[in-house]
Amino acid sequence: MSTLQHVCQLLYDSHIGTMIRESDTAFPIIESVHVLAVTLLVGTIALLDLRMLGIVLRRIPVTQIARTVFPLTWSGFAIMFVSGFLLFWAEAAKNYSNPAFRVKLILLALVGLNPLIFHTTIYRRVHEWEILSTSPWRARAAAVASLTLWSGVIVAGRLIAYF
């Protein structure tokens, strides 16, 4: 048994993990919070992506949209992360070998990498293009990557229950 698998088994067998798993209400409630947080996170980040693609709010500068959605996006992320970890805690040993879960983790790593690249490259010169109704192609590429990867995270996340 690998170390990682061992840790998952420990979490699964722990008091808290067992409590969440065996309670009638804990899992569905945490799951509902998780879905709401995903909506908050993905819904707001998608708006910024769609703005850069020139599909919505074209007359508002990109930086202004970014400043507006970031607190919402980060709140969504924090709630999503905590609730997601609690769900994982309850199912860790099962999740370890779940292909949808593995794909989801890979996609989450990629979706984290995307803004990192975006902010250290094209976004540094955002003042040159923030008022353009459609952003330069590098920003549009980041937007398409973000929309695709987040959709992938939702799809993979939903499919965890089916494996």
Binding site: V42, G43, I154
Partner: protein
């Protein structure tokens, strides 16, 4: 009304959803993706109406612009919702959470096209009045209620 649900359950869509292994998973996923877009649009519109975000931008323009996303995602939500309903139409018919969800959805849509729209036009570039803020809170509550009731369908 009941006969409509029976017909849906026996339709070819219903038959497909009941027997296919991946049909429900696929439709559920579409429902979730559309939900994220709808949630984001509603939130931004209502936070503007509350005067919390983008206070210098026209509430009317934001509402009009994002209504394309809101209504577009609503179409996907309703279509995927009908497909999910066809899988267990009779169970849903008697499910109180489902009835609540439909009532709240109807209320949310009617409110969106009437008083909510009025509040957006009325507010435009100004600081929102108490009435506009109330409209925003009602809208957020109704849409959140639709989601919570929807989640409850599978639990009761």
């Amino acid at each position: 009304m009941l006969s409509l649900f029976v017909a849906l359950a026996h339709s070819s869509l219903g038959q497909y959803m009941q027997t296919s292994k991946w049909g429900f998973a696929l439709v559920e996923t579409v429902h979730l993706l559309a939900l994220a877009i709808l949630g984001g649009s509603v939130l931004i519109i209502d936070l503007r109406l509350l005067g919390i975000i983008l206070p210098k931008e026209s509430a009317r323009a934001i509402g009009k612009d994002l209504s394309r996303l809101l209504l577009g995602s609503l179409v996907f939500l309703v279509l995927s919702g009908v497909a999910m309903l066809s899988e267990e139409a009779l169970k849903c018919y008697h499910n109180p959470a489902f009835r609540w969800k439909m009532a709240l959805l109807a209320a949310a849509i009617v409110f969106y096209f009437t008083l909510h729209r009025k509040a957006l036009i009325h507010t435009d570039k100004q600081t929102p009045t108490l009435w506009s803020r109330t409209a925003a809170v009602v809208s957020l509550t109704l849409w959140l209620g639709v989601g919570v009731a929807g989640r409850a369908i599978g639990l009761i």
